[in-house]
Symmetry: C2
């Protein structure tokens, strides 16, 4: 008897997000599924862990091949909690998303969706993050299900190299069909944060963060360009942040300080 | 007249941390200083931003060449707030730390200290994170001040390449003097989270995260090894997470899905 793949699913928009539901239905039947997703929005939480307070988990549903928990923590907490406390063995695959909003370019760095994927990758588990270039809670998700399933099946069949996970982004639904998949580089870009200052009823200042994204990457083969041209982007993503080309030059520079 | 360098300083252990004070005194006189540090501990916050609630800032002190604010947000928030709302021009340098606890190996990924540095790097500002391999609030910091100053002076004089920042770690104070600086690779390793389950007075389960770090990297030139051998480690660090060696192989694999 062949054991079914064990698939762990999370996201950062919370267990209530339509994107999470889309992801779950898109991979139905491919294996046993455990969902462990935040019980409140965790967008922009990056790779945060919950260390100052304890975590709680809440069983939502448990059928033969499907179990679902809500967790009080971040997406990275969810992966740790599921793998260390709930699952009897290492999952075969981690899926995260579908995020309501693109995680192209430097957005990946702020993303709880991608942090969950990196967390899996650090544990040696193949992991894929899915995001849609549409922030709306009611975003049209009808064009992405087949791609999610195909990419997931591909990774179940052939795995991923050590220390590499996938950051997959979909264009927002538009009049044209998706043109295919492009494997890309993470685009360069910058969030210019233009805080909005307000005054509370006690007369004290407070600030809302409100970013403007500036894309300033001349390369043709980035995730941003792929999405703009109506392709699905896949960026092979790693957690080794060493700027390897600078190790030797910096030896000369700093080891003689 | 030569303008003094403008140095922005933050950390993740909060504005009350001895490590932050050590960093400030170590670079005294090298430029005008703006401190914008979290008003509460933000360890393990990774690259989290505060988006669900507003931010507040609190002026602590303002002299000619020294201004200090506490901020209700994360280290990444602090960098954004300082550069976008407080400073009249882009700072010449961002310093973060000294963190109470090493940010070697995969710890960098969870670190608010390093997130602040990455944030600066994304803005095109030279940035250095300093961390000490000692978690204690009363850790002995007497052996690191000269290194902090030398590395900072080096970066003020010669800058850093685009898209590259520095992750600097110091060994804990011990009987031997530090042996020098080693430019290294970010070590591989894994946190195995062994949650501690407890029961609250209402009879409900809750969980404290408590990790055990496993180092499993055979390479000799990592930050972990440098610290063990009583060297200061410097890892040139970047925010392009693309696994570049997998772009071409994955084109063959996924673009024909």
């Amino acid at each position: 008897m062949i054991t079914k793949p064990l698939i762990l699913i999370t996201n950062d928009d919370s267990i209530h997000a339509p994107g999470l539901r889309k992801l779950i239905t898109s991979v139905e039947g491919l294996g046993r599924i455990l969902v462990m997703a935040p019980n409140k929005p965790q967008s922009g939480q990056g790779h945060a862990l919950t260390v100052e307070e304890p975590l709680r988990i809440y069983l939502q549903r448990s059928d033969d091949d499907y179990t679902e928990y809500a967790c009080s923590g971040t997406p990275a907490d969810c992966i740790k909690m599921a793998t260390q406390q709930i699952l009897e063995r290492k999952p075969d695959l981690i899926l995260s998303g579908v995020n309501h909003g693109a995680n192209t370019s430097v957005n990946a760095i702020y993303s709880g969706t991608i942090a969950a994927v990196i967390e899996g990758c650090m544990m040696g588990i193949p992991a894929i993050g899915f995001s849609l270039n549409d922030n709306g809670w009611k975003a049209d998700l009808s064009h992405i299900g087949d791609y999610i399933r195909q990419i997931t099946e591909n990774v179940i069949a052939d795995g991923l190299p050590d220390y590499v996970c996938l950051n997959v982004n979909f264009p927002a639904k538009n009049a044209e069909p998706i043109r295919g998949i492009r494997v890309c580089h993470q685009g360069l870009g910058e969030w210019s944060e233009d805080f909005e200052k307000r005054i509370d009823p006690q007369g004290r200042d407070y600030y809302w963060i409100k970013g403007v994204y500036k894309y300033n990457d001349p390369r043709p083969d980035t995730d941003i360009i792929a999405i703009r041209e109506n392709y699905v982007s896949i960026v092979p993503t790693m957690f080794d942040w060493t700027a390897k080309n600078m190790v030797e030059p910096f030896k000369k520079r700093f080891q003689n300080v």
